[in-house]
Symmetry: C2
């Protein structure tokens, strides 16, 4: 049987409640579609940090390297600053394994409540492809004249040809698998005049290799406005690390799916493991009550299976979620029901 | 009588159609409230560029310096690249006159069509305060290893203490004039780890001076989501040049007012003239037909009067716009009517 090694990191807060449900549904899919998942659990989290002073052990990356994929819950907890929790676990994995694509579906699911008026599932169904290793999130910067009136901080934004081309190529390849075959580029070359014109240049060069793909581009300010006004315009949207970050929260918000949206951190060449995590965080306000919605985690599992090559199983999970939502299966509080986290996981595992 | 010197730059496209209507309403307000406007017209635009190779003459800034305020239409025309048109007229004025605050109201006007479901005028009424001179729009950057596989571009984002503190102070002062007295800061200190933590630090320091003001802060990704999901949370939102740019398009989009929203580029100390312009652009697709909506320009005129100290006249114009929209005055096509630009201007001039 086909076999995949999965590193499971529940992480913090509700991550500990959603990952078991994600695994429950993955297990059901594995049985039905005839493959095996070999799981290794890691309890790395802010708890680990409290005990050891580290979010993950020194050989953490070595250990993760043995896996085909990483299945992550959520990272972060009050009292532990982001530069410790995120930069001690999430960001090193993204960068260390060169997961240079961050992919998020923005899809209006049946029965989900979009904040937009008069929009149905046929209007919102696109992907945001985000560059995940460079750009505005750079490690070059500093502070000068500290503590004086002349004080200033500076941070470089860096776009490399390698880093830019490979994420653009991914976006075009993704568009080629879809019926509309359209790629929209997020830019700001009218204001940010060194990096963004270069992005535009590489985008235009890449587009030449994909004559079947329709392209357009918008400055990030008006693009955000268009997400709200015309979500139906989009098929695949590609952006730099920061622009992609913004659009991949705004997209699910517009679709009313921010609480259930998945995300994938992908190394497309499979030279390193990829990582799959829900968009939501550790939700300290409801953690420990087992009332959180596990659908984001379950949907992330579907993205993981698709990446591993189990497309039929992935589709089955997404279809199960859609049916579940359309037909009024048990719902957690955030979706207007009063089911528990486990109820939803079990219901989905049964129909997958 | 109180007298103000106004430099009028209609600029390109529909700017030539909206500015006369803006002036018509300003003129009516001046009569009613007993002040005088001394106008000087400048035809600087992409046409000028075609004739002279320059967007404005060499002594352009010298001439504008003589005015109390600048009333701008729109800048930009197909065939003239942004780095020529915007960077030859709009940006030099913003920077040269140290218009360090870019202010935009995000207000759901009666009768305007918001894309959001179930939102009324009481839900959306806030300001975006954008830093307008530094940050991500910097002039420090470049390209290396050009034309090779190692090619990269770099651009610095710069936050100075002076530049950061003064725009934060403006936001807090603005909040003090409003009933909710709340300031929200846009950050991304979890990802952009040199500049944004500094922004947070200065925000916290400034907040100490305004104990009556409630504050909160969100990372820009989730903040954009909140604009769509909870526009009622906001009163005054302050952000860096880029974040402010994004939020001040997204805010009016959410309010359904992007076609009629005004914006102000302000030097609060009045050491230099400030500039007032609608958010919309030159709209080449409808320019020359006199069907464009002049409300953004007229509302920009109201912001100009407020800055000049004519608060009663400014309020009268905003109230006139609100009434006009609520009571179904003549509307241009974008608002579902078939009135011309001049019809709307005349109707508003009559009731101001
Ligand atoms: C035209 C462009 C440079 C400008 C900006 O980003 O400042 C515009 O988007 C604006 O908001 O006035
Ligand atoms: C937590 C933060 C650093 C992260 C990011 O901006 O990359 C998050 O917003 C995300 O999108 O995964």
């Amino acid at each position: 049987a086909r076999k995949y090694r999965i590193a499971v990191i529940p992480g913090d807060g509700i991550g500990k409640e959603t990952t078991p449900e994600g695994l429950r549904v993955l297990d059901a899919a594995a049985r039905r579609f005839g493959f095996e998942l070999e799981l290794t659990h890691y309890d790395w989290s802010c708890d680990t940090y409290a005990k050891t002073g580290k979010m993950m052990p020194d050989d953490g990356m070595e250990r993760l390297k043995e896996s085909d994929s990483i299945f992550l819950g959520a990272v972060g907890w009050p009292g532990v600053p982001d530069h410790v929790s995120l930069w001690g676990l999430l960001i090193p994995i993204r960068r260390g394994f060169d997961q240079y694509v961050n992919l998020r579906p923005c899809k209006l699911m049946p029965g989900a409540r979009t904040p937009l008026a008069n929009r149905g599932p046929e209007d919102i169904d696109f992907y945001v492809v985000r560059e995940n290793t460079e750009g505005e999130y750079s490690s070059v910067g500093g502070r000068m004249f500290e503590g004086t009136e002349r004080e200033f901080v500076s941070q470089q934004s860096i776009l490399t040809r390698t880093g830019t081309d490979r994420v653009l190529r991914y976006a075009f390849e993704l568009a080629m698998t879809r019926s509309r075959k359209k790629v929209t580029s997020a830019t700001k070359s009218n204001g940010i005049t060194f990096t963004m014109p270069y992005w535009d240049e590489r985008f235009a060069a890449m587009a030449k290799h994909y004559p079947e793909v329709t392209t357009d581009q918008f400055h990030i300010d008006i693009l955000c406005a268009h997400f709200v006004q015309h979500p139906d315009w989009f098929d695949v949207v590609v952006g730099s690390n920061l622009f992609g970050d913004i659009l991949s929260d705004l997209g699910p918000a517009v679709a009313g799916s921010i609480g259930i949206a998945p995300s994938a951190n992908i190394n497309p060449e499979k030279a390193h493991p990829s990582m799959f995590e829900p968009v939501h965080g550790s939700a300290p306000d409801i953690a420990g009550k087992w009332i959180c919605n596990p659908i984001g985690q379950i949907w992330s599992g579907a993205m993981m299976l698709e990446h591993l090559g189990e497309k039929a199983a992935a589709d089955a999970i997404v279809t199960a979620i859609e049916k579940h939502l359309a037909e009024g299966g048990p719902r957690t509080r955030d979706m207007g029901g009063n089911a528990g986290t486990v109820d939803v996981g079990k219901a989905l595992a049964e129909v997958v």
